[in-house]
C-alpha cells in the first residue's frame, strides 16, 4: 500500500516535537477527517534553521509531515514557499490515490507556519 520511503518516514519520523519559542506555527486539517498537522519554525536571517512537527493522522499524514520538515530545513522562506503538497508526495515516491487529498497537507501546514511568521515579524 505504502512505498518504502513512506514506511521509513512513518517508522522513523524526523523532527517530531515542538519548538518552544517558535518564530512561526502553522496548523491545518481537522479531526473530523482524521488529520491534524502542526508545524513549528525557527527562522534566522530568512533561513529556516529548525523545524518540528506534531501530527494526528494516518501513516501518510505522519510520513508527509516528516518529509516536509526534512525538505525545508536550511531553506530560505522563499524556497520553502515553493514546496507543494505534490512535491512532498513525490519525494515519498508517491502516495496511494485515496490518500492524496486528505493526508497530503504537510506543505499547507508549512505555508501556514510561514504566514504566521510573516504576521509576527511584520
Amino acid at each position: 500500500m505504502y512505498t518504502d520511503k513512506v514506511m521509513d518516514h512513518f517508522t522513523n519520523p524526523r523532527n517530531v516535537g515542538e519548538i518552544k519559542q517558535a518564530d512561526g506555527v502553522g496548523e491545518v486539517g481537522n479531526a473530523k477527517c482524521g488529520d491534524i498537522m502542526r508545524i513549528y519554525l525557527q527562522v534566522e536571517n530568512n533561513i529556516i534553521t529548525d523545524v518540528k512537527f506534531k501530527t494526528f493522522g494516518c501513516g501518510a499524514a505522519i510520513a508527509t509531515s516528516s518529509m516536509v520538515t526534512e525538505m525545508v530545513k536550511g531553506k530560505t522562506i522563499e524556497e520553502a514557499l515553493e514546496i507543494s503538497n505534490q512535491a512532498v508526495a513525490e519525494a515519498l515516491d508517491g502516495l496511494p490515490p485515496a490518500k492524496m487529498h486528505c493526508s497530503n497537507l504537510a506543505a499547507d501546514a508549512l505555508h501556514e507556519a510561514i504566514r504566521d511568521y510573516h504576521e509576527k515579524h511584520k
Partner: protein
C-alpha cells in the same frame, strides 16, 4: 516473523477439518447436483447433508435454508425479497443506524424505490431499544431488520424481544447474524426470527458461500433469475465445495461452541481489563457485558487508528480500526458515531477480534507492545498534552 491474527470479524481462517472435508468436492466429486448421473447424485446428496447441518446450527429445518454467495447477498435477498413480495401490504421498513453497509445501502436502494426506512438510534453501548422499535411501528411496517451482533463493537442486540414484538404485530423480522452465527447460541424458533443472514467466511468456512434462513411460509421474491436451484429462490449452479464447507463449519461450530466461548471470553476479559488498567485515556467501545465473546474495541484518545494499525502490523499483529483513513472514506465508522463518539475518538479506535487459534500468549504479546505504540503516537500528536 510470527504473525498474529486478531481480525476475525473481518474474516476467519478456514478450519482445517473444513478444508479436509471440502477437498473431495474440489477433486473427485465435482458433479453438478442437477445432473441425474452418479456424479450429480453424489453432490446432490452432499448439498442436502450440508443444508441439514446448517439448519441444525440455528434450530431451523433444512428446507428453510437457502444457500447464497455470502452475507451481502443474503442481506439483499432478505430485504428486497420481503419488500417486493409485500409491496401491497405496506412500504415501511425499520432497521438500525449501526447495521452493516449490506443492510444500510440496500435500505437506501429500497428508499429510492419508494420504501420508507426508519433508522433507529442506539445508546452509548451500541444497543437498540425495544421500546424504540415498538414506537417506530406503523400500519405500513412490513419488515424489521436488526443485526444480531455488531461487527465493529460486538454489542449483542435484544433479538428475542424484538422478534417477539414483531411476531405480535405480524411484521417480518430479519436479523443479520453474520457476526454471531457459529460463535454464539442462536435458535431461530426461540429467538422468534423469520429471516437470518449468515456468511461462511465469518465462522471458519471459506469465502464465497453464505445462507439465508427463511421460516417456512415466509414468501420472498427471488433476485436472480435462471434455473430452478434452491427451490426457485436462488438460481445458479450450486457452489458445492463451498456448501459442503459451510455445512462442516456449522457442525464444528455447534460441537465446539461452549468451549470456544469460554476460551475467548477469558482472553477478551483479560485484554479489556489490562488495557484499561495500563493505558490512560482509553475507553472500551460497545457493551461491557452484552458483547461477542471474542470482540474488543477500544478508543485511544489523541491518536489515529490507521497509524496504530500500521505499527501493530510492523509487530506482526493484524487488527482493524473504525478510522475513516483505513477505509478510504471520509467519515469514521458510522457505528461509533451513532454511539455518540466524537470524530476524534472514533478515529482512534482499535478493534481486536479473536477466534479460532488465538492463544493467551498472543494476547500477552499484544499487551506488551500496545502501550509503547500508543505512547509513541501520543508523543507525536498535537492533541495530546495540549
Amino acid at each position: 516473523m510470527k504473525r498474529i491474527y486478531f481480525d476475525h470479524s473481518a474474516t476467519t481462517p478456514v478450519h482445517p477439518e473444513v478444508v479436509a472435508t471440502m477437498m473431495e468436492y474440489l477433486t473427485d466429486k465435482f458433479g453438478n447436483p442437477s445432473s441425474v448421473h452418479s456424479f450429480g447424485r453424489e453432490t446432490r446428496k452432499a448439498v442436502d447433508e450440508a443444508r441439514a447441518k446448517v439448519a441444525d446450527l440455528i434450530g431451523a429445518e433444512p428446507n428453510e435454508i437457502f444457500f447464497t454467495s455470502g452475507g451481502t447477498e443474503s442481506d439483499n435477498l432478505a430485504l428486497k425479497g420481503i419488500a417486493y413480495a409485500n409491496r401491497k401490504k405496506g412500504n415501511h421498513i425499520i432497521t438500525s443506524a449501526i447495521e452493516h453497509h449490506a443492510i444500510l445501502h440496500t435500505c437506501e436502494y429500497l428508499a429510492n424505490q419508494g420504501f420508507q426506512i426508519t433508522y433507529l438510534p442506539v445508546d452509548q453501548y451500541g444497543m437498540v431499544s425495544v421500546d424504540d422499535v415498538r414506537n417506530a411501528i406503523t400500519d405500513q411496517t412490513i419488515l424489521i431488520s436488526i443485526m444480531f451482533a455488531n461487527n465493529e463493537v460486538g454489542t449483542i442486540q435484544p433479538i428475542r424481544e424484538i422478534g417477539k414484538l414483531a411476531r405480535e404485530k405480524k411484521i417480518f423480522f430479519h436479523t443479520d447474524a453474520t457476526q454471531a452465527v457459529g460463535h454464539y447460541p442462536i435458535n431461530v424458533k426461540e429467538d422468534n426470527i423469520d429471516l437470518l443472514t449468515m456468511a461462511g467466511h465469518k465462522f471458519n468456512a471459506p469465502k464465497g458461500v453464505g445462507a439465508l434462513y427463511a421460516r417456512r411460509g415466509v414468501r420472498l421474491e427471488s433476485l436472480q433469475q435462471g434455473g430452478a436451484h434452491e427451490r426457485n429462490m436462488r438460481a445458479g449452479t450450486e457452489n458445492v465445495p463451498g456448501i459442503v464447507a459451510i455445512g462442516k463449519a456449522a457442525e464444528i461450530a455447534k460441537r465446539d461452541m461452549n468451549e470456544q466461548i469460554a476460551h475467548l471470553q477469558g482472553l477478551r476479559d483479560k485484554l479489556i481489563s489490562q488495557v484499561l488498567a495500563t493505558i490512560p485515556h482509553t475507553q472500551l467501545n460497545g457493551h461491557p457485558t452484552q458483547r461477542m465473546p471474542g470482540s474488543v474495541n477500544f478508543s485511544f484518545h489523541f491518536i489515529e487508528g490507521e497509524s496504530l494499525l500500521l505499527n501493530l502490523d510492523l509487530k506482526g499483529i493484524a487488527a482493524s480500526s473504525g478510522s475513516a483513513c483505513t477505509s478510504g472514506s471520509l467519515d469514521p465508522s458510522h457505528v461509533l458515531l451513532a454511539m455518540g463518539l466524537t470524530h476524534e475518538v472514533a478515529h482512534g479506535s482499535l478493534r481486536i477480534t479473536m477466534g479460532l487459534g488465538n492463544t493467551e500468549e498472543e494476547v500477552d504479546y499484544l499487551l506488551e507492545v500496545l502501550p509503547e505504540i500508543v505512547a509513541r503516537l501520543r508523543s507525536m500528536s498535537p492533541l495530546y498534552g495540549a
